[in-house]
Symmetry: C2
């Protein structure tokens, strides 16, 4: 049996089963990031993400954008735990024939993006690889009692999401299909220069009202399913309430794509999907607004299993489909 | 100008120049690991190392040994800073046609080795790659005032090294040249299942007597040069005092290799090379002995520049030669 038979998710489960948990390990394999206690009050939150040019960077991605994205994917995992970033380290594999200038631009991209989020690139490793391979690791600090987990959603909680969805996947489609780029600068930017919801994650944790969170990397549907499984609740969302990035619907219509492929099943939005006690919703919404970010209530958690979507008066199972490696 | 024109070391200097240092960053790019303050007394020590099968794992390396080595290279960097390991995360790139069982064995190797050093694998990321790529990141905690740096050696300090040198490089030669393996189990083990000097690093830091340290990964000569450059001192070592792994000399003679290629210029021994105030040497030696490890004094630091070796009554410049990526 090889990896393409089982897929990424089964491999993560395998790793989760194999690796023992130490006494100080508060969150191990299977959440957005891991958390290890460092004193009576705080824990270190750590994550790692590997980007390989052929898989993760569409043709035309600049070296600065590669560096930028490598920082963002890692910071987004910290954000989903509600951690304040402390620092980043990068292992980078590069072909020997690559231009030095390319690498310098990539490192400048990493440095600038890290600093834009109030953190720093503090170390790394360089080695030879056939394809450009950037493996980052981000570290942060969080309050032990205020960590955002995937597993805390309870029946009655509201489901909400920051920002708008679908732009990054639409931007990817433009690049993959070589469509006219001029009209869709915002979609391309969402794909090539995504943002991480770092200060938003910190606000969600601080509120003490958020019961679970995950960043939208595999697509809203896949990430809703993960929340549902980890929390042991049924999630019901309302299609009409899901915030769409404005040009996505027009773009989809014009080129004959299904808008749901971007909004529900497209990945890499890096928005935060979270659940909140109903009485806390207004406070959380206002806290996010104070840091400049809109949040939208899109559904509700109930007793049961699975993820459902209300659309045009019908209630359907939302397919558990999205990006999965090895598949 | 491409990467093979400049080599790994110039690229590290480039990254060091480009990346700004934050206010809490105690040690940035260029040491064995980075250190960031987390409170008035302690800092987080973080490192990352990427291993790519084609470059780092000789044919015949088992999946467990790959996992083992990925843990050891990262813990060795923490050891060289004197940090206590807290946890490890791994990004792993794998070919889709790889057997699931292979991956399970690799993860078991990681888990078992991490636990053998009192630490844990707490998270990771899995993606597709043409060649098996394991990028690890280890983090630990150290006393801010007791961090071991590459830059602290002073004139008059003694130079010392833990354990014995040359076995890992000799083991690699056996594998690369397909030599008879039966007689050299210890050399093969040093290459395929190296050890990290974690408790030794902690002892060196605790002593407060050690002025600089580095782990021997690129070869004794290259690592002496790094200490010399970072500390701004001249280092003089005595060839007769350098501890050789016992079977290395016999192996070299029998197969017509130069023993120095293994002992001075071979890498991956993962021993700790350090400098110590002369009056502290006996206490440090005994502290290491209490944790079961011998240390040998091999030379002295003086005012000046460069690395010299006394051998057969002559004083020669020790060539700054060892493993360097992209070269």
């Amino acid at each position: 049996m090889n990896l393409s038979d089982v897929g990424e998710r089964a491999l993560v489960e395998l790793a989760r089963r194999v690796c023992r948990r130490g006494p100080r390990v508060r969150v191990g394999i299977g959440d957005d990031a891991a958390a290890v206690d460092i004193d009576a009050r705080r824990c270190l939150v750590a994550t790692t993400d590997m980007l390989i040019a052929r898989t993760h960077f569409p043709l035309g991605t600049t070296p600065e954008q590669m560096g930028h994205k490598a920082v963002v994917v890692n910071l987004s995992d910290l954000a989903a735990m509600g951690a304040e970033p402390l620092a980043l380290v990068f292992s980078v594999g590069l072909p020997r024939k690559l231009e030095v200038n390319f690498v310098e631009r990539m490192i400048r991209g990493m440095d600038a993006t890290a600093r834009a989020y109030g953190t720093y690139v503090v170390g790394g490793d360089l080695g030879e690889a056939d394809d450009i391979t950037i493996s980052g690791s981000a570290f942060g600090i969080a309050d032990r009692g205020r960590l955002l987990r995937r597993s805390g959603a309870r029946p009655g909680d509201l489901i909400a999401v920051t920002g708008e969805l679908g732009a990054a996947a639409a931007g990817l489609r433009i690049l993959l299909e070589g469509l006219q780029r001029g009209d869709y600068a915002r979609l391309l930017k969402a794909q090539l220069e995504p943002a991480a919801r770092v200060k938003e994650g910190v606000q969600l944790a601080k509120s003490g009202l958020v019961t679970s969170a995950i960043d939208v990397t595999d697509g809203l549907a896949a990430n809703l399913w993960q929340l549902s499984r980890e929390s042991g609740v049924k999630l019901v969302v309302d299609r009409a309430k899901i915030p769409e990035h404005p040009p996505v619907r027009k773009f989809a219509a014009r080129h004959g794509f299904g808008v749901d492929d971007f909004v529900l099943f497209g990945g890499e939005d890096f928005e935060l999907l979270f659940t909140v006690r109903p009485q806390g919703w207004e406070r959380v919404r206002r806290a996010l607004k104070r840091v400049g970010t809109a949040a939208t209530q899109i559904g509700i958690a109930t007793r049961g299993k699975g993820v459902f979507i209300q659309s045009d008066g019908k209630m359907l199972v939302l397919p558990d489909r999205g990006y999965e490696h090895f598949r």
